[in-house]
């Protein structure tokens, strides 16, 4: 669904991270939300009340639809965090846990 611009593909370094434990690859400078989309993960969570699927939308910190668990902390805004080598990104099923 989403494809990178070719000049980005060649001008940046690859970054390895995981999505729900599976190895994934992004480019340096990607936000977590962009990295999810580039890896074909368009739905990254379900809503806390109705359970509807949600994915990154505004990509600028406003809509809060890209919430994911990053390195063990729930409800992080994927579009506001840069992907880092070894980062563990988890999709969220409903409400976050208070302990993580």
């Amino acid at each position: 669904m989403f494809r990178r611009l070719p000049e980005i593909e060649t001008a940046t370094q690859a970054v390895s991270f995981t999505i729900d434990g599976r190895p994934a690859s992004a480019r340096a400078g990607d936000s977590v939300a962009a990295a999810l989309l580039a890896n074909g993960v368009t739905a990254c969570r379900t809503t806390p009340v109705s359970g509807a699927a949600r994915g990154p939308y505004c990509m600028m910190g406003v809509c809060f639809d890209c919430l994911v668990t990053i390195d063990g902390t729930g409800n992080r805004q994927g579009c506001q965090v840069r992907v880092a080598p070894g980062m563990a990104v988890e999709t969220q099923n409903g409400k976050r846990e208070v302990e993580r």
Binding site: P48, V49, T73, N75, G94, K95, R96, E97, V98, E99
Partner: protein, 381 residues
Amino acid sequence: MTQPSRGGEYDVAVIGGGLVGSALAWGLARAGQTVAMLDEGDIAVRPSRGNFALVWVQGKGLGMPEYAGWTKKSSDDWSGFADLLREQTGLDVAYRRPGGFMPMLSEEDLQARANTMMRLHNQPDMIRYPYEVMDRETLRKELPFIGPDVVGGTYCPLDGHCNSLRLLRTLHKGIGLLGVDYRPNHRVERIEHRDGGFRMSIADGGAGGEVRAGKIVLAAGHDSARLAPMVGLSAPVRPQRGHVIVTEKTAPFLHHPTVYVRQTDEGGVMIGDSFEEAGFDTTLQPGISSAIAERAIRFFPLLGKLNVVRSWAALRVLTPDGFPIYEESKTAPGAFVATCHSGVTLAANHALTLAPLIAAGGLGDGFTPFSARRFHVPQAA
């Protein structure tokens, strides 16, 4: 539907569309009355949209045991009330009664709390109810994640909570189904008692015109202070501000409400219980928000990990002694006032007990202690 009574378009006009007015209008219509509910607009001072949603019993009524009994009765009737609302509207107001805690951060506070509970229950005519004073270890068995500063607390199995925004919405849906004429933008400018009925002039900035009714109920919260003297009543209420913080929705972990912190049915954690005398100013004070957040984290340190999504300040409707006023006018019979700061807790009473009495024509002797005359005459020895 019954015929409108003599002297009015409606049997009864309820002035105020918040939780008190809506619960009364619902109960009055259920009792067969034709009802108009006159409400202000969206920018009305509306504590019903800002409250903490506890259905709370423990500790209330020191100085007026009748209020303790009235509160307990509403708590006892709340479950049936929620069932009636669900059957009628299909909406669930999420009432739960798991028992509530009041955790304490010092031995002095815990001792003072225990004394208050004892004095409350030692009052003559007090309807007693179960409660426990718990030390830290006992409390920790019920609330395993209390912080190191918590020394203990009190527990009462009658305490509960609901979704109060949904309660307001549900009551409004319910009164619509019962045929109540809901009239927003109807700020009442003046009330005249004439020919055994009442005429309300509606503010020109709103809908304008006149509404007539055989009986009226003042349930206008802060505005009842202005309206009551027009019909020989008195409602000396003042605003007392409280701050509330709500966090992001979180998987259920706090299974009991406390006075300061509760987790809503949808998962958000509400933090509250500040008291400020600040008139009608609802500006958020960051210093107060951070103080209540800090206290909440001392009770439950794991709250520190949660993101805050909203905070606000709202205005309690307080009488000089903090207890409700329920009274019928002596000089304008058929005019009633109902005001309290616990519109959620007392909603079941207002709908199921008070409204049918007003529909039938009078409050009776049981309500004498709730008369505003208690503020006017010197207390007899």
